[in-house]
Structure formats: C-alpha cells, structure tokens
Amino acid sequence: MDRISFFQTSPAKYDFAYFTVLHIAHDSSIATVIKLFIMQKAIFYEMTNSKVCVLGAGSTKYGKLNESIIEIALNAAKDAIESAGITPKEIQAGYISNVFGVADKQVHMAPVIMSNLGISHVPGLTIESACGSGSVMFREAYANVAAGFYDCLLALGVEKVTHTGTVHSTTLFSYCSDFFYEGGNGASFPGLFASMARAYMNTHKATEEDLANVAVKNHENGMLNPKAHVHKKITVEDVLKSPVVASPLKLLDCCPFSDGASATILCSEEFAKKSGRPYIEIIGSGRGASPAAVQDREDITTIPSTVAAARQAYRMAGVTPKDINFAEVHDCFTIAEIIDVEDLGFFPKGKAAHAVRDGATRLKGEIPVNPSGGLKSKGHPIGATGVGQVVEVFDQFTGKAGERTVPNAEIALTHNFGATGASAAVHIFRKVDRK
C-alpha cells in the first residue's frame, strides 16, 4: 500500500495528518510550521491516549477436547462475538495466538479462522510467544486499536496438545526453552521451574508446603469455575504425596496440559459506547523481556520481564499495586505464582510464601490471585491462556463470574509470560459503570 492510499483508507485522524503534510508542502512560513507542530503533537497525543475497551469475551471449556483446533477456536470466537452483540462483518482484523498448531496439522491459522467466520476478506495475524502468546498477542491487538488502525477486532488464543500425549507434550514444550542450554541438556519445563523453586527455597527459606498452599488455593477457586480443566479440591498433604515430576516439584505443583480457546472483542471507546453493551476498559499495558536461559539471569528468584512489564502497565494506568483489586497471574507451577506476586509488587521479595500461607491471596483475602483457578486448575492451553485471563476479568466486571466474583472490584491486573519468563505482558483493566 502506498502512502496516499494508506491515509485514505485509515481513520479520520490520519486524513487530518495527511492534510497537515500537504499543507506544509505549500506553506512553510515559521508560524505555519509552529502551528502544524502543535497540531501534530495533538494528533500523537490522541493516538497514544485513545481508550481501548473489551466489548465481548468468551471461552471454551479448558481440558481434553475432541474437536479440531479450528473448531475449538471458532467456538470461542462465536461466544465472544455474541457477547459483544456484534456481527462478524464489524470485525476489521483478527489477531490469533497459538504455539503448537502444527501438532493438529494447522498453521497459518488466522486466515482459516477468518474464513470460517464468513469474513475471509479481513486480515489476520498469528502470533507465537510460547506460553505468553495470548497476552503478547493481546498487547499487539490493543496497540493497533489504540493507534487508530482498527475500531473493532477479534483477539483470540487457541491450543490443542492433549492428543499428543504427556511425554510428547513435555518434549514439545521443551522447545520453548533456550534449547541448546536447557531442553537439549535434559531440562523439561517442570525441571526449569523446579530449578527456580530450589533457588527460591534456598534463598528465602520457603518450604514445599509453602508451594503446595498455592495449588490448594487455586484448586479451591477452580471448583467455582465451570469451564476449569481440573475440578478437584486438594489438600497440602495431597500435593506433598503426589509423584515427583522434577524435584522439588510434584505432580500437583504443575498445571495440566490443556486444550481450549478464549476470545475477546477489542474496540475503541466510541465503538463500545455506541454498542450500548457492557464493556471494560484497558488502562495499562506493558511488555518485558528476560534472558531466554535461566542460567543467564543474575537472580533466579525473580523474573525481570514481569518486573518491567508491570512497571510500564502501572505507570500507564496511573495506579500502584495497592490499587489492584484482584489479579490473574501466570501460575504454570506453584513456584511461578510465588515469584509473580512479588515481581508484580503485591508483596516484598521473599514474603509471598508467608502471605499465601496467611490467606492474603485467597478469594476473600487482601489481594485475590487467580479467582478463575489460574493455570493450575482452570488449565493452560498455552496459546489461549493470556486471553483467558482477560475473559475472567471481563466476566468478573460484567457480573458473569458467579460464586467466584471478587466483591466491589474496580481494577484488575492480568499477567502472563512465555517459557520461564523470557517474554511477559501485563495488562490493567477498569470496570466501566454504565448507568
């Protein structure tokens, strides 16, 4: 697309920008240049401060699913479209996150999904960032609405791996590590997080019981989520007695391999207001990165990408960790949630284990963490997980979370990372009261 047609097919703000460029070409007096500089600053301000909303959200059940990966994706898309009260014709772009489509014989997934929604002319993009694919994709989708490229788009994550079996799934996931140093030397993902757990326990004197408390709490929440993969109440003793996967982590310290899809409809504030439907607003968005290999991190008990992404998101939203009413965080293993809630600033370094033990992160605690059941109980279809967290916030803020509703919540945070935290994204949402 050339420069002219780009502006001609873009929203009004770009037409205005184009007009200013033409104007400069014909009148270059100092006064005009100053005037146009101010106008262009105003356009930039508007572009970077456009409010972006989530107008609809839907998820399949997470677990072992029999449908094809495309059918799973479409079921979530249909739920999100109906939830938003729109027709597919209003969708201007499709953002899809997925990691192991090849395991179900389908890559280049976005056009296939768009075609099956009856909107084959709508451009799509498929994004992979390991277990953080969903949130990283969501961030790109958010940025494109914020920048004014689209008024309404579909942001959908999907995964199907359970048919490959546990051993092969373990191997597939190890390809998300820095393989030359990690997977290639025999480390599985439970193994990598187990090495982080051992470092944390050694540094902060945490115990295996402390880790088990996270699993017990998230399974308790998952019992209240009809779409959760694992509906099973467990005790600390159950966790400690479950088979060791990679010491010190046991089976019940680990999230399950899950199939599933989650979808959201993102739109401009103007589009959301016109719809007359309930919606929530994205008020903060941050991305971060860490050295890909665990060995290269100065401190193995923290995840730098989380810290960086959270700082950006808090700053953008103008809030602090104390303002967050609940959080959906990346608890692929129990140790991950302990590290996350410290890196997100909810608890000082080394104190999360005690806080979890004291019930601070329970549904009725001071900062409820993973009311959905988290990856640990709700499940972890890795391409969908980050989007599923947004679906939970949408359900919480629009009265659809049932018994697991966090009372009086106004601001929520989602946090999702790829691999051992090599990539991460944090988003902050505000409940919109439509009276």
């Binding site: 030397n185 599985s188 010491s247």
Partner: protein
C-alpha cells in the same frame, strides 16, 4: 558487515568442541572486556561485535538444579539425572548441563563442585562431580 559462519565455524559447534576438551568457550568483548558465553554474537553491554575467544576451565559450583523424575524424549534411558546450573570458576558466567547418577537432593547440595566431562550428542553438556 558480519561474515556468515559455516557449519564448522558455528558458535554452537565451537562451544561443543571446547566442552569436549572440558572447557567452556566464552567471548571477551574487545571493546569493553565484558565476558559472555560463546554463542552470543553482540556484546550485551556495549553491542560490540569483536571478541577474543577465551577458554575457561570447565569447573564451578552448583547454583541450582532439579532432579528430573519425568524425563523428556531422548532422556528416558538416562536413569536418574540432574539438570544443573553452575557458576563457572573465576568468572561471573553460569552454564548448565546434564549430571547423571543424581537420585536425591542429598547427592547434590547447593555449592557442590562440578566439572565439564564433555558433550554428548544425545544428552548435551555432560557434567561430573
């Protein structure tokens, strides 16, 4: 312009050859002196791309590890083993590798001394106590 490396000159291949001599191959930035593992192409401190090859003794102390009870494909026949992160002596660098014969945490307290035993095409960087 950076020259393309042939397979024989690949950074991974050089790392493997050094491991087979029981060494860890590192890059020392010619511009700022920062030390990195051989596989890094640009200095993470100053973005310099000229390096001196530095062979470090393949020995160090255990920083953290796991004992893999459920092994990924290709490691099922390895018996009970640990995946170990260790700090290389006389540097701030860390590397990780495969240490066979570890059955319980009592076999491998943190700060245990380990050394590079070679590179196995199937199991990667081999360590021994």
């Amino acid at each position: 312009m950076m020259e393309k490396l042939s397979a024989k000159e690949s950074t991974h291949q050089k790392f493997i050859e050094a491991a087979n001599r029981k060494k860890i191959l590192a890059h020392k930035c010619s511009k700022c002196g920062h030390l990195m593992l051989e596989t890094v192409l640009f200095c993470e401190k100053c973005s310099g791309s000229k390096f001196e090859h530095t062979e470090l003794e393949g020995a160090g102390t255990v920083v953290t590890y796991t004992i893999q009870a459920v092994a990924p494909e290709g490691f099922e026949d390895a018996g009970s083993y640990a995946w170990v992160v260790f700090k290389i002596d006389n540097s701030q660098l860390r590397a990780s590798g495969f240490l066979p014969g570890i059955k319980t945490p009592a076999d491998l307290p943190i700060r245990t001394r380990v050394r590079v035993a070679g590179f196995d095409p199937k199991h990667g960087l081999m360590l021994q106590k």
